[in-house]
Amino acid sequence: MRLAVDRIKCDGHGQCAELLPELIRLDDWGYPIVAQEEIPDRLAPLARRAVSGCPLLALALQRRAG
């Protein structure tokens, strides 16, 4: 699993970076830069919490294709 942002939906509320600083940082304008790596198991519950915490439902967990 990895994190994916819908760039059009995202308005830079920044909740995700608060909830999951291990994998998400904000750029200079407040928009998330998410790690492209596979989410380690120990962070999976936090990642799910970040996804459900996004006020615009712009963050998702994606199964890697293939």
């Binding site: 760039r7 059009i8 995202c10 750029d27 304008w29 407040g30 928009y31």
Partner: protein, 389 residues
């Protein structure tokens, strides 16, 4: 060998259907293996991305179920490019031939002529040509005006305009050929590519020529049809030669690459040869920057334009390109600032790959090409007010 612009003098305007058929013969009925012919021809898209046309057709056909859509892309939003307009106003039937061949090959139920709203002569020419075609062909076609915006020519923006009247890009995947107009697989193809298809259907192979627009510091700027073996120097000569000593060439439009004049002249205008050097013909614009112009100011001006052409949907693109353009302008007007040069690098990395479409990526590639090609100019720029463009 037949060329796209063969036939009557271009100044005489559009070639009518009778003359078109007399010159090239009637539109052949494509066999079931026409997509194979297209794949073997190696034809690449002429809108800028140079995607293999055959592969795109194959993918749309495979998912078509007779409901696919063909979008004839004549948006031509690239500021210096004129070649699509010239083709639409002079050889409209080549484009329509290609569009109807595409519609048959991918089993489409609709063909959309997507033409820039400001390109009035092109719209008129295509409409007059369409009126000469059979009622069966006319029944397939509708037209849509592409807003005069840089991003309007992107496939997903074209689909969005046809679907909802808004020419902003949408999140991909799904791409247009997977899920386009009304959810149907949609083939979005540049007008020059379709004109090539019309000739491939008759001769089996593409013409070996490209349409290019030679712009900027040359004596006779405009559109040329060139053999792909010729060099940039030869193309510039065909456009009347440099109007004054040239500093650099911007190859492939605003998403293209800068090359210093000395290294540019010998480059062949061939897709593969350019790609081997990390360059691309892109949309075919060869922009010649005269030596009297300041490259830093020129780059700042184009970055300002690209920032203003963000469709303002994705934060990193809207805010990031604006910040990059501001930093470029500060350097251009106030002189080199090393903090700003560092910001350009950091923000380039931050913005790249973070839009729904490739607009931010293209703008960042343009900027990086400028920084890599003109390191001394950016490192030692003296304060002066940017010239108006």
């Amino acid at each position: 060998m037949t060329q796209l612009l063969a036939g009557r003098n271009l100044a005489l305007g559009a070639e009518g259907l009778a003359e078109h058929v007399r010159r090239l013969g009637p539109l052949p009925v494509p066999g079931p293996s026409f997509i194979e012919v297209l794949e073997r021809s190696g034809l690449k898209g002429r809108g800028g991305a140079a995607y293999q046309a055959g592969m795109k057709w194959r993918s749309v056909e495979a998912q078509s179920n007779g409901a696919a859509v063909v979008i004839v892309n004549g948006a031509e939003g690239e500021p210096r490019s004129l070649k699509d307009r010239l083709l639409m106003t002079t050889r409209p039937h080549l484009i329509l031939d290609g569009a109807f061949l595409a519609a048959k090959a991918v089993r489409a139920k609709q063909v959309v002529l997507y033409i820039g709203e400001d390109h009035r002569a092109a719209q008129d020419s295509m409409a007059r040509a369409l009126a000469e075609r059979t009622s069966e062909e006319r029944g397939l076609v509708r037209t849509a005006a592409a807003p005069a915006r840089y991003v309007a020519g992107a496939s997903s923006a074209a689909v969005h305009l046809v679907d909802a009247g808004i020419a902003t890009p949408t999140t991909t995947p799904p791409s247009a050929h997977q899920r386009g107009v009304d959810g149907a697989p949609t083939l979005v193809q540049n007008v020059e590519t379709l004109a090539q298809v019309a000739l491939i259907a008759r001769t089996g192979s593409p013409t070996g020529t490209h349409l290019v627009t030679v712009a900027g510091g040359v004596s006779r700027p405009g559109v040329l049809e060139i053999q792909s073996q010729i060099t940039i120097a030869e193309a510039v000569e065909l456009a009347g030669g440099p109007s004054e000593s040239a500093e650099a060439v911007l190859l492939g439009g605003y998403f293209g690459n800068w090359v210093r004049a000395a290294s540019a002249w010998g480059l062949p205008l061939d897709h593969d040869a350019l790609r081997a050097r990390g360059l691309s013909l892109g949309c075919g614009v060869i922009g010649v920057l005269p030596g009297s112009r300041c490259v830093v100011c020129e780059v700042a001006g184009i970055m300002r334009y690209l920032a203003s052409e963000s469709s303002a949907q994705c934060g990193p693109c809207f805010f990031g390109l604006r910040a990059l353009a501001d930093a470029c302008t500060r350097i251009a007007e106030g002189g080199t600032d090393h903090l700003d040069l560092q910001r350009l690098q950091r923000w380039s990395a931050d913005v790249s790959g973070r839009g729904a479409c490739h607009h931010p990526d293209g703008a960042v590639m343009f900027l990086q090409s400028a920084l890599n090609t003109f390191p001394e100019e950016f490192a030692g720029h003296r304060a002066h007010l940017r010239r108006s463009a």
